[in-house]
Subunit: 395 residues, 2 copies
């Protein structure tokens, strides 16, 4: 077990009616004027925005609205949000939405406090040292941004999609009401299931050993998500399944499932450049295609761990004579599960053809001059292209 | 899944050499003069106190020492600690020790900030509204006090052992170096294993259903502790086993293993009056005797959940015709495990005879006028005495 820091300061208010506590919780944190940041009109149509606004008013807080966040949240709207905060003298940013809305809100909160252009710190420059108090009302179980230290923003001009990792990214408070995910489509539910599983599996698969407690927690989470995922896809208004997916999305990406491991998030890195370059690609769908292909490319370097997942999460019987067969069987079972919940599992299903590869891999590798981060050997342009090719058909 | 609040603000610095970061972390939280609170001389003999003091000095912080905390921490020392804080104008309390030291430090931190006698809020009076910044350097994997919202203090005059539950009890920062537990005796290691398991199992066993994610995490933690426990007892300097036990002790009692459940901590309540009245009884040893007896008394009311534990944690095969047999088999396997790691499993092993029952049960039930908290039917004096009698021999 490697040394680690565990820092999850976000207070989670979980359950039916959670959003009704927004006013009191924000007020307790000194908020007086709130930027309500959201996406399209769905949070208005569903009545959620009304409930949040009523809660703020009841606590004597005023607010200003800024909607319009799209998937793969855009730098231009972050800049607009910062200007809104300045103009309206906001002292708390509250995201009402999924991962894109929350990430946009995080970037706004930092930029408003820092007083400089957000792309500086998102694109790898001097990281922010302070932020504005912010929280979330979650509507999508997927990104885990409601507790995570991550934030991903896309510069729509250059198509660069970049992530900022900092403890400042952790919200002060998050309101998680599973009912607010009842209307999420089957496809988006599937994307969320895959994304949640990936946040755990990208931490799980490292050559580090002796992380039994972390492994057991990760496997428990994956099993719970596996079963709840099937139920939520079939019965979108099953509260218990939605609750499991929602809480798992937070725990999967808040550090818990990676304590004592190094991790490189290789497949996230590979995927970001697909969805960054191709607006029609959902992050979860890209991961669904790329993860099994990546796993097939690397599993022989860590048969032990891939076999462990196969046995403990995917119900495979251990082949002690040929553990590599168990390992591969587990990867196939995982891919079959992704297919079962309606996710694409091949490049074709993603709408990508071999003619698209070069642009994406060049973005990932800076035209072949850099490797992607990886804990299973160097991930250079040739190896990444091999993964793309594996993804042309089921593993 | 019931609504819940998840609030774990404690930053955990985990791993080899963690205590060397104490100075910097405390300074970052505004500390200038620290009360170092500890138990007997073991932290001085081991050199740990020197390391912590060197780290504080290096960061430019001054400190004052107050040792002498004994198991079942005493009210009188809490009062002395509050006086020391006032006299020395302390602005941070740092516990260096196990659960007793940490609980004593928590009570001191609250009393110093509140300016009133600590027994008022510990014994059930008006709860504290503020506290002094405090942290922990952990030396014993057991109580989970390094992240929990609990604090248990004993009034040595009346033998009343009482717990205070408040979010103010959560430390700002905890330093967890598994090496600092290498010298813990086999017996105390066993007590810690039982206590950690109990913090999870007292949350696990409730009639609430549909808490699959929380159950899976709990079961994963129990399996990891089960295996690491055997190793740590046999090889006290096995870093990985000690690390698993240490991290599990924190996660077991920080809320994670109970999200979405109600819980009553019945067996903790029953045990507190044994160790409160009999100084020779270690809390973990008392739990080891009482939990299986309690389980045998109640399992027919929740065969489903006891069978689930038996199958998933204790490796029993499910008897679908007679699930109650599986449930009981699991309780027996758990008790056998406690015996294997050197814990007492009967009243005799605890040094208690039937002649002692009346005093203890009268303390628990206020002379038979009150029931113990319980989620499996009323726990009155007669039923508690039945549990004591079950504990006279292995279940």
């Amino acid at each position: 077990m490697l040394n680690f820091i565990y820092n999850t300061p976000t207070k989670v208010v979980f359950g039916r009616g959670a959003e009704a506590q927004a006013g009191a919780e924000l007020k307790a944190r000194g908020a007086t004027r709130v930027l309500l940041h959201f996406g399209g009109g769905s949070v208005r149509r569903s009545g959620l925005l009304d409930k949040v606004e009523a809660s703020l008013r009841e606590a004597g807080l005023s607010y200003v609205e800024l909607g319009g966040v799209a998937p793969n949240p855009k730098l231009s709207l972050v800049r607009e949000g910062i200007e809104t905060c300045k103009r309206e003298k906001v002292d708390f940013v509250l995201a009402v939405g999924g991962g894109s809305v929350i990430d946009s809100a995080k970037a706004i909160a930092h930029g408003y406090a820092e007083g400089r252009d957000p792309w500086e710190y998102i694109s790898g420059g001097e990281p922010p040292k302070k932020t504005t108090p912010f929280g979330t009302v979650l509507t999508l179980a997927a990104a885990g941004s409601e507790m995570s230290n991550s934030c991903v923003i896309t510069d729509e001009v250059t198509h660069l999609k970049r992530g900022l990792t900092t403890e400042l990214n952790r919200p002060l408070v998050s309101f998680l009401n599973p009912e607010n995910t009842f209307t999420v489509s089957k496809f988006q539910t599937g994307c969320g299931i895959v994304d949640t599983m990936m946040h755990t599996m990208e931490r799980y698969f490292t050559p580090d050993t002796d992380t039994d407690l972390t492994d057991r927690l990760a496997e428990g989470l994956l099993v719970a998500v596996r079963d709840a995922g099937r139920i939520a896809i079939a019965h979108p208004e099953d509260y218990e399944a939605r609750a499991t997916l929602m809480w798992a999305s937070s725990l999967s990406h808040n550090t818990l499932t990676g304590c004592g491991h190094n991790h490189t998030f290789t497949v996230h890195k590979l995927e970001h450049d697909f969805s960054g370059l191709h607006d029609h690609i959902a992050h979860g769908a890209g991961l669904s295609v790329l993860f099994p292909a990546w796993a097939k490319a690397v599993y022989r370097q860590d048969v032990r761990k891939f076999a462990q997942l196969a046995v403990r999460v995917w119900g495979c019987e251990m082949d002690f004579d040929h553990p590599e067969r168990t390992a591969l069987q587990g990867i196939r079972a995982m891919q079959a599960y992704f297919g079962e919940i309606g996710m694409p599992v091949t490049m074709g299903g993603l709408g990508i053809t071999p003619a698209d590869y070069e642009d994406v891999v060049n973005l990932t590798t800076a035209n072949g001059t850099k490797c992607a981060p990886s804990c299973y050997g160097e991930m250079d342009k040739a190896r990444i292209l091999e993964i793309y090719r594996i993804a042309e058909q089921p593993v």
